[in-house]
């Protein structure tokens, strides 16, 4: 049966308010139990019934009353006065005070506290413990980190993802290349066949113009440098054929000016020295320097009237070609040359020798340049693939940092203007970019003054030595003239004999020096003798004066006995000279091969350290006379 309650409402009556009313309860339906359904059920015995016996609890929430808090300042008003005294009344307060002061306890306390207070006040006056003691001192920045450099990028040929931005295609291999400082799209390059070419990077990889072959150099152009001019189109080039040519790139058909590097100043091409590097400083537009194959650096003046005056001075000191030449950006009078196994620092005023030099390395030095930020730091590359960073103020015997960049020889080196990034190129075409640590490319506090002092000191030392050397030479000349005509012609000695003689002389002098040193040690304190930073002082300690003195003798006599005697005679004088030298700040001991033009056989070689001409008996053609060791470019 269904129990239903139906409630209906008309739609129109929707929404009407309901009015409910009570009515009595009414039974809707009454269903009696049906015993017939009992069979569907089962009696359950026992029945589980849960009972819990706990106290009744109910949940109740409480919210505490909120208390309002406010911050307020208190103005201290006079208080503490006893009840009977009115603080406003001056008389009463004074009276009260006087009464207190009379109290004995008060007096005792005051005495005691007074003593205590006085002690502290005196303490304060004695010393101000909070005084700023170290106000004005700047913390010296200690470079704790050792110098280091890290490779940023290595560009190898043949690696696909490293494509150069532009490839310049000259007609003949390029030997040197320079960007125009005024226009960064223009480059000038010297070719292997002696021509000069210039490129505009906006116009592609082929040269815009080439110089005519007939008027160009006859040998590879080893140096090409832009000049400072209003038009920004002038440059000059130098080559091993002994010429320096000036060009205007707008008209490369002929050079605007030529100069033959003949240091005998006769302008003869035959005597000319081959140029290997060029150096030009925009701040000194009329002067420039050329580094030659023969190891001589020639300083020239462009504005001189006659060609013979163009060559102002020569600096000889290297045994082999000068591969790099650069002026110190901070001290234009000081320049760096790199060649043979050393790097040398020169001062323009001292023409006879360099003022400072590095030790003799085991491999050739191929390139070098000054740092643009620190006056006493320079970089050199070696043919064993090492890049050296030298800090001459800090250490002169060794480079501050020596990095093996690659296994093949490093050929060139360029430093970015900020002084931190250096790029070096190897013989196999790998370019490595290195970033050097900040210690080597940030200017230290006193560095400029210290560097100035160092250069001046070394220049002065060299001048003193030069002066003494000249004196000795004059003395020798006077003595030799007094002795009349010495035997001018000697029997022609075979090269082997000459070589043996050279060897003998050499070792004799070494023994002599060692003995002298041993003696000197026993007589003088050690402090005077050693050279503070010299080159190669370990194995070949020759005094420069002696070397040259013997040279001057050889020039006159070309006799070994005289040479040996000369050495001996110099020895006893050395003691006094040593005292003299002690005045000079640093005793530099270095190798000085006596520079004979040749060992007394070929008279045509004469004065000029020119090339070895076709006389086979000529052993020494240039400064370093022990031929087997030289990187010889002079073989006829």
């Amino acid at each position: 049966m269904e129990i239903m309650y139906v409630y209906t409402r008309k739609r129109s009556e929707f929404g009407r308010p309901c009015s409910f009313s009570d009515r009595p309860a009414k039974v809707s339906v009454d269903i009696p139990p049906d015993p017939g359904m009992a069979s569907g059920f089962v009696l359950r015995n026992p029945v589980d019934s849960a009972v819990q016996h706990t106290s009744d609890m109910s949940e109740h929430e409480v919210n505490t009353e909120r208390v309002e808090v406010e911050s307020r300042g208190v103005n201290h008003v006079e208080g503490g006065w006893p009840k009977d005294i009115n603080p406003q009344e001056v008389e009463q307060t004074i009276r009260f005070r006087k009464k207190v002061e009379k109290d004995e306890n008060y007096v005792n306390t005051i005495m005691h506290l007074g003593a205590l207070m006085e002690h502290c006040v005196k303490q304060n006056n004695a010393i101000n413990i909070y005084e700023e003691y170290f106000e004005d001192e700047e913390m010296a920045e200690l470079e704790d980190e050792p110098p280091s450099a890290k490779t940023i990028n290595v560009i190898r040929s043949g690696v696909r993802y490293q494509e150069p931005e532009l490839v310049l295609k000259p007609s003949s291999p390029l030997v040197c290349l320079e960007y125009n400082p005024k226009d960064s799209h223009v480059l000038v390059g010297g070719c292997y066949n002696g021509q000069l070419a210039y490129w505009d990077t906006r116009k592609g990889g082929l040269p815009v113009e080439l110089s005519t072959v007939e008027v160009s150099h006859r040998d590879p152009v080893y140096g090409a440098v832009w000049l400072q001019s209003k038009t920004g189109t002038e440059c000059f080039s130098a080559s091993t054929d002994g010429q320096v040519l000036w060009w205007d790139i707008r008209k490369l058909s002929e050079p605007t000016e030529t100069l033959v590097l003949d240091i005998t100043r006769k302008g003869l091409r035959e005597n000319a020295l081959g140029a290997v590097t060029l150096e030009f400083e925009p701040t000194m537009p009329t002067k420039f320097m050329v580094g030659t194959e023969q190891g001589i650096v020639i300083a020239c003046n462009r504005k001189a009237k006659t060609p013979s005056e163009k060559i102002t001075s020569t600096y000889s000191g290297h045994h082999g070609p000068v591969y790099a030449l650069s002026r110190n950006p901070f001290y234009p009078k000081v320049f760096l040359t790199v060649g043979d196994w050393t790097a040398r620092i020169w001062s323009e005023e001292t023409k006879e020798s360099s003022i400072m030099w590095t030790k003799y390395h085991l491999s050739y030095l191929t390139d070098g340049c000054w740092s643009t930020v620190r006056p006493a730091v320079f970089f050199t590359t070696r043919s064993d693939g090492t890049l050296d960073v030298w800090d001459f103020l800090f250490k002169q015997k060794d480079p501050s940092l020596s990095l093996k960049v690659c296994d093949e020889p490093l050929a060139s080196l360029r430093l970015q203007d900020n002084g931190c990034v250096v790029g070096c190129g190897s013989k196999l075409g790998t370019i490595t970019l290195l970033e050097i640590s900040s210690g080597l490319c940030t200017l230290q506090r006193n560095e400029k003054t210290l560097a100035t002092a160092m250069f001046e000191r070394e220049t002065k030392r060299e001048k003193i030595l030069e002066a003494r050397h000249r004196e000795m030479r004059l003395k020798e000349r006077a003595r030799s003239e007094g002795q009349g005509t010495e035997v001018e012609e000697r029997p022609m000695e075979s090269p082997q004999e000459v070589l043996d003689r050279a060897r003998r002389d050499f070792f004799e002098v070494i023994e002599a020096e060692l003995q002298r040193r041993a003696q000197a040690e026993t007589h003088h304190p050690r402090g005077k003798v050693p050279g503070t930073g010299g080159a190669g002082s370990d194995s070949l300690p020759w005094r420069r004066g002696r070397g040259s003195a013997s040279a001057s003798q050889l020039k006159n006599h070309a006799g070994e006995e005289a040479a040996a005697k000369g050495e001996e005679s110099q020895l006893p004088r050395d003691e006094e000279e040593e005292e003299e030298d002690a005045k000079v700040s640093a005793l530099q001991l270095r190798v000085a091969f006596p520079p004979p033009p040749c060992w007394g056989c070929c008279s045509s070689c004469g004065e000029g350290p020119g090339r070895a001409r076709g006389v086979s008996a000529c052993v020494g053609g240039s400064r370093g006379s022990l031929t087997p060791l030289l990187p010889s470019l002079q073989e006829p």
């Binding site: 503490g80 005051i110 506290l113 007074g114 006040v121």
Partner: protein
Amino acid sequence: MMEETLKRIQAHKGVIGTVVINAEGIPIRTTLDNSTSVQYAGLLHQLTMKARSTVRDIDPQNDLTFLRIRSKKHEIMVAPVLKAANPF
């Protein structure tokens, strides 16, 4: 005698003013003007009490002997009366 002591302290180099305060915080003798003295009296009194109670809390046998407040401009030096007896 007591006057001399106070005068001597005031005469030292660097001393700007002296205030003697009693137990109730009333400035008894002062070289500064009244309002300043009252201000110092009220403030320092309470601070000294606090300092003393701090010291005593840490070690009951201990007592505050001197209080120095060093500020940018001056230093305030307070010598409180010792209440506790020195342990022998």
